[in-house]
Protein backbone atom coordinates (compact mmCIF):
# COMPACT_ATOMS: atom_id res chain seq x y z
CA UNK A 1 0.00 0.00 0.00
CA UNK A 2 1.04 3.53 -0.62
CA UNK A 3 0.81 4.87 2.93
CA UNK A 4 1.93 3.24 6.12
CA UNK A 5 -1.04 3.15 8.49
CA UNK A 6 -1.74 5.26 11.57
CA UNK A 7 -0.05 8.46 10.47
CA UNK A 8 -1.45 10.28 13.51
CA UNK A 9 -0.12 7.70 15.96
CA UNK A 10 3.30 7.72 14.34
CA UNK A 11 3.44 11.48 14.58
CA UNK A 12 2.47 11.37 18.26
CA UNK A 13 5.07 8.75 19.10
CA UNK A 14 7.81 10.50 17.14
CA UNK A 15 6.92 13.78 18.83
CA UNK A 16 6.98 12.40 22.36
CA UNK A 17 10.24 10.57 21.71
CA UNK A 18 11.89 13.71 20.42
CA UNK A 19 10.46 15.89 23.17
CA UNK A 20 11.91 13.47 25.67
CA UNK A 21 15.32 13.46 23.99
CA UNK A 22 15.70 17.17 23.23
CA UNK A 23 12.89 18.97 24.99
CA UNK A 24 9.75 20.43 23.49
CA UNK A 25 11.02 23.80 22.32
CA UNK A 26 14.18 22.39 20.76
CA UNK A 27 12.22 19.94 18.65
CA UNK A 28 10.99 21.19 15.28
CA UNK A 29 8.03 19.94 13.35
CA UNK A 30 10.22 18.87 10.42
CA UNK A 31 12.21 16.69 12.83
CA UNK A 32 9.02 15.04 14.02
CA UNK A 33 7.71 14.38 10.55
CA UNK A 34 11.08 13.13 9.33
CA UNK A 35 11.08 10.53 12.09
CA UNK A 36 7.50 9.56 11.33
CA UNK A 37 8.24 9.35 7.61
CA UNK A 38 5.81 12.09 6.66
CA UNK A 39 6.00 15.68 5.47
CA UNK A 40 5.65 18.85 7.47
CA UNK A 41 2.42 19.65 5.74
CA UNK A 42 0.88 16.40 6.91
CA UNK A 43 1.62 17.22 10.53
CA UNK A 44 -0.57 20.29 10.37
CA UNK A 45 -3.37 18.29 8.88
CA UNK A 46 -3.58 16.18 12.04
CA UNK A 47 -2.73 18.79 14.63
CA UNK A 48 -3.83 22.39 14.59
CA UNK A 49 -0.40 23.38 15.88
CA UNK A 50 2.69 21.94 17.50
CA UNK A 51 1.20 22.24 20.98
CA UNK A 52 -1.74 20.02 20.19
CA UNK A 53 0.38 16.87 19.99
CA UNK A 54 0.72 17.11 23.75
CA UNK A 55 -2.97 17.36 24.52
CA UNK A 56 -5.55 14.86 23.38
CA UNK A 57 -7.60 17.20 21.23
CA UNK A 58 -11.07 17.54 22.71
CA UNK A 59 -11.18 14.01 24.08
CA UNK A 60 -11.21 15.09 27.72
CA UNK A 61 -14.00 17.67 27.45
CA UNK A 62 -16.06 15.15 25.49
CA UNK A 63 -15.53 12.42 28.05
CA UNK A 64 -16.43 14.76 30.91
CA UNK A 65 -19.58 15.94 29.15
CA UNK A 66 -20.61 12.34 28.50
CA UNK A 67 -20.09 11.29 32.11
CA UNK A 68 -22.11 14.26 33.37
CA UNK A 69 -24.96 13.46 30.99
CA UNK A 70 -24.99 9.82 31.97
CA UNK A 71 -25.00 10.45 35.72
CA UNK A 72 -28.29 9.54 37.43
CA UNK A 73 -30.66 12.49 37.01
CA UNK A 74 -31.63 12.56 40.67
CA UNK A 75 -28.06 13.29 41.83
CA UNK A 76 -27.23 16.71 43.20
CA UNK A 77 -24.68 18.53 41.02
CA UNK A 78 -21.96 18.26 43.62
CA UNK A 79 -22.50 14.49 43.66
CA UNK A 80 -22.32 14.41 39.89
CA UNK A 81 -18.95 16.10 40.20
CA UNK A 82 -17.85 13.52 42.74
CA UNK A 83 -18.97 10.66 40.51
CA UNK A 84 -17.31 12.03 37.39
CA UNK A 85 -14.03 12.85 39.09
CA UNK A 86 -13.83 9.44 40.73
CA UNK A 87 -14.43 7.76 37.40
CA UNK A 88 -11.83 9.89 35.65
CA UNK A 89 -9.31 9.33 38.41
CA UNK A 90 -9.75 5.56 38.40
CA UNK A 91 -9.72 5.03 34.65
CA UNK A 92 -7.21 7.60 33.48
CA UNK A 93 -4.84 8.37 36.31
CA UNK A 94 -4.51 5.56 38.83
CA UNK A 95 -1.46 3.49 37.95
CA UNK A 96 -0.03 6.19 35.70
CA UNK A 97 1.35 8.57 38.25
CA UNK A 98 4.85 8.66 36.82
CA UNK A 99 3.78 9.23 33.21
CA UNK A 100 1.35 11.88 34.35
CA UNK A 101 4.01 13.63 36.41
CA UNK A 102 6.41 13.61 33.46
CA UNK A 103 3.68 15.00 31.20
CA UNK A 104 2.95 17.79 33.69
CA UNK A 105 6.64 18.60 34.02
CA UNK A 106 6.92 18.97 30.29
CA UNK A 107 3.95 21.32 30.18
CA UNK A 108 5.14 23.42 33.09
CA UNK A 109 8.57 23.81 31.54
CA UNK A 110 7.29 25.63 28.46
CA UNK A 111 5.38 28.89 28.33
CA UNK A 112 3.42 28.15 25.20
CA UNK A 113 2.37 24.80 26.65
CA UNK A 114 1.22 26.47 29.84
CA UNK A 115 -0.95 28.77 27.76
CA UNK A 116 -2.49 25.85 25.98
CA UNK A 117 -2.92 23.88 29.17
CA UNK A 118 -4.87 26.73 30.74
CA UNK A 119 -6.98 26.94 27.61
CA UNK A 120 -7.74 23.23 27.81
CA UNK A 121 -9.08 23.75 31.30
CA UNK A 122 -11.35 26.52 30.00
CA UNK A 123 -12.57 24.21 27.25
CA UNK A 124 -13.32 21.54 29.82
CA UNK A 125 -15.33 24.02 31.87
CA UNK A 126 -17.30 25.06 28.80
CA UNK A 127 -18.16 21.45 27.93
CA UNK A 128 -19.13 20.64 31.52
CA UNK A 129 -21.27 23.76 31.73
CA UNK A 130 -23.23 22.70 28.66
CA UNK A 131 -23.71 19.23 30.12
CA UNK A 132 -25.03 20.70 33.38
CA UNK A 133 -27.42 22.91 31.44
CA UNK A 134 -28.66 19.80 29.67
CA UNK A 135 -29.37 18.31 33.07
CA UNK A 136 -31.65 21.23 33.77
CA UNK A 137 -29.32 23.61 35.62
CA UNK A 138 -29.68 27.33 35.04
CA UNK A 139 -26.82 28.94 33.10
CA UNK A 140 -25.29 30.57 36.10
CA UNK A 141 -25.41 27.56 38.40
CA UNK A 142 -24.20 25.32 35.57
CA UNK A 143 -21.19 27.60 35.14
CA UNK A 144 -20.37 27.58 38.82
CA UNK A 145 -20.66 23.81 39.11
CA UNK A 146 -18.52 23.30 36.02
CA UNK A 147 -15.90 25.71 37.30
CA UNK A 148 -15.96 24.07 40.70
CA UNK A 149 -15.49 20.63 39.23
CA UNK A 150 -12.48 21.80 37.26
CA UNK A 151 -11.10 23.55 40.34
CA UNK A 152 -11.35 20.42 42.46
CA UNK A 153 -9.85 18.28 39.75
CA UNK A 154 -6.85 20.49 39.11
CA UNK A 155 -6.09 21.06 42.76
CA UNK A 156 -6.41 17.34 43.40
CA UNK A 157 -4.21 16.40 40.45
CA UNK A 158 -1.45 18.69 41.63
CA UNK A 159 -1.70 17.43 45.18
CA UNK A 160 -1.82 13.79 44.10
CA UNK A 161 1.29 14.15 41.97
CA UNK A 162 3.10 15.87 44.83
CA UNK A 163 2.35 13.15 47.39
CA UNK A 164 5.35 11.06 48.47
CA UNK A 165 3.50 7.76 48.21
CA UNK A 166 1.24 6.68 45.35
CA UNK A 167 -2.35 6.09 46.40
CA UNK A 168 -5.66 6.12 44.54
CA UNK A 169 -6.31 9.59 43.19
CA UNK A 170 -9.90 9.30 44.40
CA UNK A 171 -8.63 9.58 47.98
CA UNK A 172 -6.99 12.90 47.20
CA UNK A 173 -10.12 14.09 45.44
CA UNK A 174 -12.24 13.20 48.45
CA UNK A 175 -9.99 15.26 50.69
CA UNK A 176 -10.17 18.29 48.44
CA UNK A 177 -13.92 17.96 48.14
CA UNK A 178 -14.40 18.26 51.87
CA UNK A 179 -12.94 21.73 51.45
CA UNK A 180 -15.14 23.17 48.82
CA UNK A 181 -18.86 23.39 49.07
CA UNK A 182 -21.28 24.82 46.56
CA UNK A 183 -24.87 25.50 47.44
CA UNK A 184 -27.70 25.89 44.98
CA UNK A 185 -29.34 29.16 45.92
CA UNK A 186 -31.01 30.19 42.67
CA UNK A 187 -34.33 31.83 43.44
CA UNK A 188 -33.67 32.33 47.12
CA UNK A 189 -33.55 35.89 48.38
CA UNK A 190 -30.15 37.53 48.31
CA UNK A 191 -28.34 37.45 51.58
CA UNK A 192 -30.16 34.37 52.76
Amino acid sequence: MRWAPDARGRLERAAFDLFGEQGYAATTVPQITARAGLTTRTFFRYFADKREVIFGGDEIPRAAARLISEAPPELEPIDVIRLVLDEVAATRFDGRREETAAWRRMINADDSLRDRDARKRADLVAAARTAFVDRGEAQRSATIFAETGALIFHVALDAWLAEPEARPMGDTIAEIMTWVCVRRLEGTPLGS
Copy 2:
Protein backbone atom coordinates in the same frame (compact mmCIF):
# COMPACT_ATOMS: atom_id res chain seq x y z
CA MET B 1 14.77 64.87 21.95
CA ARG B 2 15.87 61.96 19.84
CA TRP B 3 12.84 59.68 20.27
CA ALA B 4 9.20 60.61 20.55
CA PRO B 5 8.08 59.72 24.08
CA ASP B 6 5.84 56.91 25.30
CA ALA B 7 6.77 54.28 22.75
CA ARG B 8 4.84 51.66 24.69
CA GLY B 9 1.67 53.73 24.77
CA ARG B 10 1.92 54.54 21.07
CA LEU B 11 2.32 50.86 20.27
CA GLU B 12 -0.70 49.98 22.38
CA ARG B 13 -2.87 52.62 20.79
CA ALA B 14 -1.76 51.74 17.26
CA ALA B 15 -2.42 48.07 17.99
CA PHE B 16 -5.89 48.60 19.37
CA ASP B 17 -6.81 50.89 16.50
CA LEU B 18 -5.69 48.38 13.92
CA PHE B 19 -7.28 45.47 15.74
CA GLY B 20 -10.54 47.40 15.70
CA GLU B 21 -10.23 48.22 12.01
CA GLN B 22 -9.03 44.86 10.67
CA GLY B 23 -9.31 42.36 13.47
CA TYR B 24 -6.55 40.94 15.60
CA ALA B 25 -5.37 38.10 13.39
CA ALA B 26 -5.31 40.19 10.23
CA THR B 27 -3.09 42.82 11.83
CA THR B 28 0.65 42.22 11.61
CA VAL B 29 3.27 43.53 13.95
CA PRO B 30 4.97 45.50 11.15
CA GLN B 31 1.67 47.28 10.54
CA ILE B 32 1.44 48.22 14.20
CA THR B 33 4.98 49.52 14.38
CA ALA B 34 4.65 51.39 11.10
CA ARG B 35 1.66 53.26 12.50
CA ALA B 36 3.49 53.97 15.74
CA GLY B 37 6.60 55.12 13.86
CA LEU B 38 8.81 52.40 15.32
CA THR B 39 10.50 49.25 14.13
CA THR B 40 9.36 45.68 14.51
CA ARG B 41 12.24 44.97 16.84
CA THR B 42 11.05 47.67 19.19
CA PHE B 43 7.65 46.03 19.47
CA PHE B 44 9.19 42.85 20.81
CA ARG B 45 11.24 44.82 23.28
CA TYR B 46 8.07 46.05 24.96
CA PHE B 47 5.84 43.01 24.48
CA ALA B 48 6.93 39.40 24.69
CA ASP B 49 4.64 38.57 21.80
CA LYS B 50 1.76 39.98 19.81
CA ARG B 51 -0.81 38.70 22.30
CA GLU B 52 0.64 40.64 25.18
CA VAL B 53 -0.49 44.01 23.79
CA ILE B 54 -4.00 42.94 24.73
CA PHE B 55 -3.25 42.03 28.32
CA GLY B 56 -1.60 44.31 30.82
CA GLY B 57 1.51 42.27 31.46
CA ASP B 58 1.59 41.09 35.05
CA GLU B 59 -0.14 44.18 36.37
CA ILE B 60 -3.29 42.35 37.44
CA PRO B 61 -1.59 39.51 39.34
CA ARG B 62 0.61 42.09 41.08
CA ALA B 63 -2.32 44.25 42.06
CA ALA B 64 -4.25 41.25 43.37
CA ALA B 65 -1.29 40.03 45.40
CA ARG B 66 -0.80 43.50 46.86
CA LEU B 67 -4.46 43.81 47.85
CA ILE B 68 -4.42 40.39 49.51
CA SER B 69 -1.27 41.25 51.45
CA GLU B 70 -2.70 44.57 52.59
CA ALA B 71 -6.02 43.17 53.76
CA PRO B 72 -6.47 43.22 57.56
CA PRO B 73 -4.77 40.11 58.96
CA GLU B 74 -7.74 39.12 61.08
CA LEU B 75 -10.03 38.69 58.07
CA GLU B 76 -11.12 35.22 57.04
CA PRO B 77 -9.81 34.30 53.58
CA ILE B 78 -13.28 34.40 52.05
CA ASP B 79 -13.65 37.94 53.34
CA VAL B 80 -10.28 38.86 51.90
CA ILE B 81 -11.59 37.63 48.56
CA ARG B 82 -14.70 39.75 48.97
CA LEU B 83 -12.65 42.82 49.83
CA VAL B 84 -10.23 42.39 46.95
CA LEU B 85 -12.89 41.72 44.36
CA ASP B 86 -14.97 44.69 45.46
CA GLU B 87 -11.93 46.93 45.21
CA VAL B 88 -11.00 45.63 41.79
CA ALA B 89 -14.56 45.94 40.56
CA ALA B 90 -14.92 49.52 41.76
CA THR B 91 -11.58 50.82 40.54
CA ARG B 92 -11.10 48.95 37.29
CA PHE B 93 -14.47 47.94 35.93
CA ASP B 94 -17.30 50.18 37.10
CA GLY B 95 -17.96 52.80 34.44
CA ARG B 96 -16.07 50.86 31.78
CA ARG B 97 -18.60 48.22 30.91
CA GLU B 98 -18.62 48.92 27.19
CA GLU B 99 -14.83 48.97 26.80
CA THR B 100 -14.57 45.84 28.86
CA ALA B 101 -17.21 44.08 26.80
CA ALA B 102 -15.44 45.05 23.57
CA TRP B 103 -12.15 43.80 25.01
CA ARG B 104 -13.73 40.47 25.96
CA ARG B 105 -15.32 40.14 22.53
CA MET B 106 -11.96 40.60 20.88
CA ILE B 107 -10.38 37.94 23.08
CA ASN B 108 -13.17 35.45 22.55
CA ALA B 109 -12.97 35.90 18.80
CA ASP B 110 -9.40 34.62 18.53
CA ASP B 111 -8.07 31.23 19.56
CA SER B 112 -4.58 32.37 20.43
CA LEU B 113 -6.01 35.14 22.60
CA ARG B 114 -8.25 32.66 24.40
CA ASP B 115 -5.17 30.60 25.18
CA ARG B 116 -3.39 33.59 26.61
CA ASP B 117 -6.46 34.73 28.51
CA ALA B 118 -6.75 31.37 30.22
CA ARG B 119 -3.06 31.54 31.02
CA LYS B 120 -3.49 34.97 32.58
CA ARG B 121 -6.09 33.53 34.88
CA ALA B 122 -3.66 30.80 35.91
CA ASP B 123 -0.99 33.43 36.58
CA LEU B 124 -3.45 35.37 38.71
CA VAL B 125 -4.21 32.26 40.72
CA ALA B 126 -0.51 31.62 41.25
CA ALA B 127 0.09 35.16 42.50
CA ALA B 128 -2.93 35.05 44.79
CA ARG B 129 -1.86 31.69 46.17
CA THR B 130 1.52 33.07 47.11
CA ALA B 131 -0.13 36.04 48.79
CA PHE B 132 -2.39 33.75 50.82
CA VAL B 133 0.59 31.67 51.86
CA ASP B 134 2.24 34.88 53.03
CA ARG B 135 -0.83 35.50 55.17
CA GLY B 136 -0.17 32.19 56.87
CA GLU B 137 -2.41 29.85 54.91
CA ALA B 138 -1.21 26.33 54.24
CA GLN B 139 -0.28 25.59 50.62
CA ARG B 140 -3.37 23.59 49.92
CA SER B 141 -5.85 26.01 51.43
CA ALA B 142 -4.06 28.94 49.82
CA THR B 143 -4.47 27.26 46.46
CA ILE B 144 -8.15 26.62 46.98
CA PHE B 145 -8.83 30.18 48.14
CA ALA B 146 -6.89 31.61 45.22
CA GLU B 147 -8.71 29.38 42.75
CA THR B 148 -12.03 30.24 44.32
CA GLY B 149 -11.37 33.95 44.10
CA ALA B 150 -10.53 33.66 40.42
CA LEU B 151 -13.62 31.52 39.87
CA ILE B 152 -15.92 34.07 41.48
CA PHE B 153 -14.30 36.92 39.63
CA HIS B 154 -14.54 35.35 36.21
CA VAL B 155 -18.10 34.14 36.65
CA ALA B 156 -19.09 37.56 37.94
CA LEU B 157 -17.36 39.40 35.10
CA ASP B 158 -19.16 37.31 32.51
CA ALA B 159 -22.48 37.77 34.26
CA TRP B 160 -21.99 41.51 34.74
CA LEU B 161 -21.16 42.05 31.08
CA ALA B 162 -24.22 40.04 30.06
CA GLU B 163 -26.65 42.02 32.19
CA PRO B 164 -29.07 44.23 30.26
CA GLU B 165 -28.59 47.22 32.56
CA ALA B 166 -25.29 48.53 33.85
CA ARG B 167 -24.99 48.38 37.64
CA PRO B 168 -22.02 48.27 40.00
CA MET B 169 -20.04 45.10 39.39
CA GLY B 170 -19.82 44.63 43.16
CA ASP B 171 -23.53 43.78 43.18
CA THR B 172 -22.99 40.96 40.72
CA ILE B 173 -20.02 39.73 42.71
CA ALA B 174 -22.09 39.68 45.90
CA GLU B 175 -24.70 37.52 44.18
CA ILE B 176 -22.16 35.04 42.92
CA MET B 177 -20.51 34.89 46.33
CA THR B 178 -23.71 33.75 47.99
CA TRP B 179 -23.39 30.67 45.80
CA VAL B 180 -19.93 29.54 46.61
CA CYS B 181 -18.69 28.73 50.05
CA VAL B 182 -15.25 27.57 51.06
CA ARG B 183 -14.54 26.12 54.48
CA ARG B 184 -11.16 25.89 56.12
CA LEU B 185 -10.82 22.29 57.25
CA GLU B 186 -7.06 21.78 57.36
CA GLY B 187 -6.17 19.62 60.33
CA THR B 188 -9.68 18.42 61.02
CA PRO B 189 -10.32 14.70 60.67
CA LEU B 190 -11.37 13.54 57.25
CA GLY B 191 -15.08 13.22 56.81
CA SER B 192 -15.85 15.72 59.51
